[in-house]
Structure formats: C-alpha cells, structure tokens
Symmetry: C2
DNA sequence: ACGGTAACTGACCGATCGGTCAAGTTCTGA
DNA sequence: TCAGAACTTGACCGATCGGTCAGTTACCGT
C-alpha cells in the first residue's frame, strides 16, 4: 500500500527475475512508477532494499530453526517440520528463489550471510549419519526448494495456494527422509 | 595449456563463484595473468567467453537427450539414464552450477537459452503421469543438480571422482523414481 | 492560515563496465 | 634473414551504475 512496501515488492520481483546485480535501482523505480531518487529516499541503498525484501523470509526460516530437533524425533515430528519447511518455501517463493540462485554470489551481503548461516544450522541439526542419509537430506530439501523456486521457469505454475502440489511435496519428502529401517 | 583454454577455465570458475554479471573481464584477465585487452583478443566479447565455458557441458547434456526414452523403459534402462545424468553433473560441476543459479537471469543469452530448451525436452520426455510422479521427477533431478552444484557452499566437497557420493546419489534417485507399483 | 516535516524529483558526480584501437612484441615458416 | 601472422598491451571511449544534493511539492497538526 505505502510507497515503501510497493518498492519492497517491486524489488523482490525484480531481484528474483533479473538477479540482484542485474537489477538497477532505476528498474525498480520504474516498476513502482517513482523516480530513482525516490527509491533512495525510502531505502538508503540498494543493499538496504535487498535486506528489506529478504528479511521476512529469513525471519520465517529462523523461526523454523528450533523445530529442527524434530528431525531426530518420531515420524510425526519429522512430518511437522517438513510441513513448516514446505509452507515456508511456498509463502516466500520469490525470496527463496533469490536465495537459492544468488546466495553464492552475494555472500558479502550481511542479510544473505545470515540466511546462509541459518541454513547451515538446519543442515547441521541432522544427526550424523551415513552418506546415504546426508544425500537423502540434501536432495529432499534442495530438490523441494529448487522445484518451487524455479517452477515458473519451466511452465509449471506454483501458486502459493496449490494444495495438491503442497501435499504431494510433503508426502514425497516424508518418504525420502523416513528411516530405511522402517521400510 | 593455451592462453585461450586458460581463459576459458578462469571464466568458468569466476562465472560460477561470482556470477556472470558479477564477473568483470578484468577479473578473468587477472586470474589468467593477462591484460583485459588480451582476453578480448581471444574471445570477441564476454558473452562469447560464456559460450565457450558452457558449450562442453551443453554438448554433453544434448548427447544425453536421446537416452531419455529410457525413462519409460525397464528399471535397468532408467538406471542407465540416471548414471549418465549424475556423471554429467559431476564432470561439468561448474557449468551446472552456472546454469542452475543463473539460467533465469541469462535467458537472453543464446547459449543459456539452448541449454534451457534441452532441459525442457528432458522434462517433457517423462510420460504424462500424476502430480506425485512429476514432483518425484523434479525433486530427484533438481535435488541432485542443486546438491552437486552448491555442495561447496556448505563445506561439503564434491570431488569429481567421489565414487561414494556418486553411488549414493544414483541409488537414491533410482529409489525415488521407481514406479510405486514396484514397492 | 501557516510552519514544519515528510515525500519526491532532476541534475549531477565519480567509478566501473564492456569494448575499440593503434602500436609494440613475439613467434614462425620459407 | 625477414616478412607476415599471431599475440599482447596501455590508453581511451561511451554508457550505465549506485549514490548525493539542493530545491520543490504535498501533507498535517495547531
């Protein structure tokens, strides 16, 4: 509604589609129908704008962090965590896309570095297991994130409220991460 | 060995770590210990350099395309395809990383557009099935690609000859794509 | 009505980018 | 030996970038 929030949303879409480095402040200004100087009035720098665009998603994943203990719990616990993870990806699809595709090139940006640390903590929360288990974990979470982030690039629309996709994703992740001893 | 191949390798590493837009010709020149003008003598433009860096990987995945028919075949056929896919990812890790993280922002670059078309053809070769099957396919291939491309960002080294990782990945992809009727 | 503050803008600045060019150097084959 | 091709380079160019600033307009409490 406000100009600031419009700029934040415009930046989120632009950063996701053209990349942070490929997006000029002018482009964001044009998308929100204001001048470049006006963008820099609301956000003191391009980096501040990226921070504002990503922060909600990072707060959400940080809130998910305490629940990683559920990964070592019962089947129901692990299921609860996966539901939270998938919902997080679907609700913050653009932010997830920005992080997945550009975190490597933007490690020197504080907000991205913070997000990377949280992801690493989630990965570390997984109890030390076999290589197979590590690969299962990486393929599951990475595959889900990549699927939702890049779905649009291959014609598949991933609407935030696509419950069929959500349920299917949770089911398959559940199956992939289930202890093999339970088979 | 030659200056041209050294520049191609330097560009591949730089594009993968800093991104195409985040890499200056000067940076590639410095990595190969030559001048910026010398880079533009061997490759007429920055885009030509990206083309040269990605082409071997794209040729390899194009060669894999005829084998997508195996996805509809027996378990052994599907296994053969997955072996080819995983080996491709491991042998062209940097090119895969560039494509996975930057194909969205570089759609207007011909060599990237060509790669995207090939990926789409592979995805389309999968016979029309349920949403579950589509999600399985996307999580498997996307997860494997993302794991190998981004492994370095999370401390896990994915050496091109890590047979343990390779075998584990193939086994899990096999399991993920096996028809549920076989369970 | 009015003073102050928030919002907005065009003009401008220094830096960096991709790319060109003329000149110099090194290599090679006859 | 030497002509010409291959290679390398510093200097330079126009364009675009992120960011600054002085000045203008719109809004709001009193």
């Amino acid at each position: 509604m406000t100009t600031a929030s419009e700029l934040r949303d415009a930046a989120l879409e632009e950063f996701a589609s053209a990349g942070y480095l490929g997006t000029s402040i002018q482009a964001i200004a044009a998308r929100a129908s204001v001048s470049k100087a006006s963008v820099l009035y609301h956000y003191s720098s391009k980096e501040t704008l990226l921070d504002a665009a990503l922060s909600p998603a990072i707060d959400a994943i940080a809130a998910l962090l305490p629940r990683t203990v559920q990964l070592s719990g019962t089947d129901a616990d692990r299921h609860d965590f996966l539901v939270g993870f998938v919902d997080l990806l679907m609700q913050h699809r653009l932010a997830a896309q920005i992080f997945i595709t550009q975190s490597g090139a933007l490690v020197d940006v504080p907000v991205v570095a913070r997000a990377q640390q949280i992801i690493q903590q989630i990965a570390a929360a997984r109890p030390q297991q076999t290589v197979d288990d590590q690969v299962r974990f990486a393929v599951a979470l990475g595959g889900a994130a990549y699927l939702l982030a890049q779905a649009g690039a291959y014609g598949v629309e991933a609407a935030p409220d696509d419950v069929q996709l959500r349920d299917s994703l949770i089911r398959i992740l559940d199956e992939l991460l289930a202890p093999v001893t339970a088979s």
